[in-house]
């Protein structure tokens, strides 16, 4: 960072959000205590400050919530699509009106920079509700035959990396298609889901249509196993996804799984270098790399490798790490101590296996969970860090000489969620994209999302699609 022009701190005001000292579970339109009275604390990963105490859902609470959702399903699914659309539009507008409050809340609870919650998460959250509101009265024309019917009660389990956005991806299509919902947010980031519960009340959404159950994995497992749940939607780790697949095997539950990834970001020698560098940065350092579709494997053509790495290192040196509420922060905190230790372990494995580690000069705050942006060179396909999902700000750099080699290396992964292609040659984009086995392929950009665009994986990255017209199918009996 240039010393001549240091930006003064520009923190977003915390006063726009009012966090209560404790929150209940949201069941049948009411905030209630957990049946067994258990609570847990949610902390700010940037400071380790306790933000609030949250009721912890157990098996009995799951049952209560599912029964409420089942009861609400009768009336909700019988509403004309245009009526359901009205509620969804109302929710979308309230989200927009309260977006600053929600952005600050999300940053406090998750640790990601306010710049991202303000400019990426919240606009996308509102956009998803608007988009699916638009579909609610057009389901007959969505290409799934006349009058496709909802499935019933959807049990949804979401991760901590994009708490409110993943909620939107799950709840908006479920409600638009006439399903009711029981959603379990992650234990480290329950707050925005509870604020969403309040938004549902503000929008006058009928009781029981949306139920929110903060809790741990046991609550998630109970939800997935509940006999009266018709549809399971999960976003999270591949290990948990496999467990869920085993749990529902043999039942008539419909399932969609959005799991891990190890996205290849392929840079050809004729790429727009400066923009490719930006795309690499967006690909792996967006949300501290805690993104399932992160471009965590950089495949760079050998002839430009040195030049690209020089540019990349120079660019990384300008990243600003620190207080996530500062509007100028690019890299925030890692979501939890547990996640930080997972990242640290994998990075140590990378070093032990002989890859070369590099980070820009970067001071880490003394409290909270932090990890400096990290680059590994001399990585081969045989390295752990080229195969395992790290889910942190760690980029593994590999090289290739020919397009075929790039495709072979990109596809040589147990995952298949995302990929990026950087070249000025349009025909090469099409040729390479056609050979990559990944659900999302970006060309000359990375980590761009839109509600109209379906998202999902190949191989161990899961199955089913969210977003777009395809996203409706997962919640309809077609």
């Amino acid at each position: 960072m240039a010393s001549a022009f240091e930006y003064a701190p520009a923190p977003e005001s915390r006063s726009v959000v009012d966090i209560a000292p404790s929150y209940g579970l949201f069941i049948d339109g009411e905030f209630v205590e957990a049946a067994d009275g258990k609570v847990f604390k949610t902390v700010s990963p940037a400071t380790e400050e306790v933000l609030s105490e949250i009721a912890q859902a157990g098996e009995a609470d799951v049952d209560r919530a599912v029964r409420a959702a089942r009861k609400a399903f009768e009336k909700w699914s019988a509403l004309p699509g245009a009526e359901r659309a009205k509620y969804l539009f109302r929710i979308a507008r309230i989200i927009q009106e309260r977006s600053r409050e929600l952005a600050v809340l999300e940053t406090l609870d998750n640790g990601k920079p306010i710049k991202e919650t303000r400019d990426a998460d919240l606009p996308l959250v509102a956009a998803h509700f608007f988009y699916y509101a638009g579909w609610a009265d057009k389901l007959d024309h969505a290409g799934f035959g006349a009058n496709p019917r909802p499935l019933g009660v959807a049990g949804q389990v979401i991760p901590w990396n994009f708490p409110l956005l993943m909620l939107a991806w799950k709840i908006a299509p479920a409600l638009a298609t006439g399903n009711t919902v029981v959603l379990k947010p992650a234990e480290t980031t329950p707050l925005s889901a509870l604020f969403f519960a309040d938004i549902c009340r503000q929008a006058g959404l009928p009781k029981g249509v949306v139920n929110i159950l903060p809790g741990y994995g046991d609550a998630g497992a109970a939800l997935v196993e509940h006999p009266d749940v018709d549809k399971v939607a999960f976003t999270g780790s591949t290990a948990v996804g496999k467990a869920i697949a085993r749990q529902v095997a043999g039942t008539d539950k419909k399932v969609t799984l959005e799991l891990g990834g190890k996205g290849a970001n392929i840079v050809f020698d004729d790429a727009p270098i400066d923009q490719a560098v930006e795309g690499i940065v967006t690909g792996i350092f967006f949300n501290q790399g805690q993104v399932c579709c992160a471009g965590s494997r950089l495949l760079v053509q050998e002839s430009i490798q040195d030049e690209l790495l020089d540019s990349l290192k120079r660019r990384l040196s300008t990243l600003r790490l620190g207080d996530p509420l500062d509007k100028n922060t690019d890299i925030g905190a890692i979501n939890s101590a547990e996640q930080l230790s997972r990242i640290t372990t994998l990075v140590e494995a990378g070093e032990a296996e002989g890859a070369e580690r590099w980070s820009p000069a970067c001071e880490l705050p003394s409290s909270g969970y932090w990890f400096a942006p990290t680059l590994f060179t001399n990585v081969t396909q045989a390295h752990t860090i080229a195969r395992d999902e790290i889910f942190g700000p760690v980029l593994s750099v590999l090289s290739f000489r020919t397009p075929d080699e790039a495709v072979a290396k990109a596809n040589n992964s147990q995952y298949g969620l995302s990929a990026g292609i950087w070249t000025e040659k349009g025909s090469r984009i099409l040729a390479v994209a056609g050979k990559l086995r990944a659900g999302v392929i970006w060309s000359n950009t990375f980590n761009k999302f839109d509600p109209t665009s379906p998202f999902g994986g190949y191989k161990e990255s899961g199955f089913g699609r969210e977003g777009g017209r395809h996203g409706l199918e997962a919640y309809l009996d077609v």
């Binding site: 727009p272 400066d274 930006e278 430009i304």
Partner: protein, 319 residues
């Protein structure tokens, strides 16, 4: 920090022929317009407040080329402009002087007198500004006039027609001839009129062409067309000077001109400089704003920071 790969260190005979020059310029990495504009926009969201803002305002004032390029310019107007450049805010003597005043060649002499004894330079737009449509001999005579009258800096326009027709060598030769006419006393700013070059690839090529031919500064535009300086084209030119220095060791300045009217805009450009090329370019020897109305907004914002109140246009001088 020289890089090792393509584009290759510009060979000394890069300008040996139109085809070698074309080969080199077309071998530069491409520019993705969407990505470039997205990067410029994201840097535009940097929040610059309090002490950083005070620093940025003074820096921006010191980088202004206070400009009058009207057919109706008179020696009196130019003298007033010069006085303002030397002492932008008579009510606050801590206000820095601007970098230069920028005038037509026939106004260099009064401008010189007006800024005599100060740090303010006199820049002059020679070479048949703004269209550049004149014979080379005429352009060179224009430059020599301005230099003879004491201009410290020459702002030349390139022949956009020749550039767009692919006659890169013609453009190159004109720049080298003008550079020679500047002698050792005047620095040369080369204006591309980016709005007329139309593509970002062309702007990058023009930047390299200008630098290879000996420009001391590369400048976006004349301020006389619809699209002048934008954050995106300035970012691109900053990347070009950064890459050029990495490969040749020669540092070249950048001057966005036209359409930058507010303090907010100016600060966005400073953020671009800060995060693209860094502190090596953060002074008025290497970065300038070509502007006429920007200065007053900077002064009003400066007064606001000092007093906590907005004054108004009557509290800063016209011209």
């Amino acid at each position: 920090m020289p890089t090792t790969a393509s584009p290759a260190h510009p060979p000394t005979d890069v300008a040996a022929s139109d085809s070698t020059l074309r080969g080199f310029l077309h071998g530069l990495p491409g520019v993705d317009a969407v990505g470039l504009e997205a990067r410029a926009a994201s840097l535009g969201t940097r929040s610059v407040k309090t002490t950083a803002k005070a620093y940025a305002i003074d820096l921006a004032i010191s980088m202004v080329d206070l400009t009058t390029l009207e057919g109706a310019d008179t020696p009196g107007k130019v003298r007033a402009l010069g006085a303002k450049a030397v002492r932008p805010d008579p009510t606050d003597r801590t206000t820095p002087a601007t970098a230069a005043v920028c005038v037509y060649p026939d106004m260099v002499a009064p401008a010189k007198e007006a800024v005599a004894g100060s740090s303010v330079k006199v820049a002059s737009v020679a070479t048949a500004f703004p269209a550049g449509r004149a014979a080379l001999a005429v352009k060179l005579a224009d430059v020599r006039d301005a230099v003879a009258a004491g201009a410290d800096e020459i702002d030349m326009v390139i022949d956009r027609g020749a550039f767009l027709a692919g006659h890169y060598l013609k453009v190159y030769d004109e720049i080298t001839a003008v550079k020679e006419a500047c002698g050792t006393s005047a620095r040369l700013k080369v204006i591309f009129e980016t709005g007329e070059l139309s593509t970002y690839d062309n702007i990058r090529r023009a930047s390299w062409l200008g630098m290879l031919a000996g420009a001391d500064f590369i400048k976006t535009s004349t301020g006389k067309v619809a699209v002048n300086a934008t954050p995106a084209n300035t970012l691109l030119m900053l990347e070009a000077v950064r890459d050029f220095r990495a490969q040749t060791g020669v540092q070249v300045g950048v001057k966005p001109a036209g359409g930058i009217r507010t303090t907010k805009d100016a600060i966005k450009f400073l953020v671009l400089v800060n995060e693209t090329v860094g502190e090596d370019w953060l002074d008025n020897h290497w970065f300038r704003f070509g502007a006429s109305s920007l200065l007053n907004d900077l002064l009003m914002q400066r007064q606001k920071l000092a007093t906590g109140r907005y004054s108004g246009p009557d509290y800063v001088t016209v011209d």
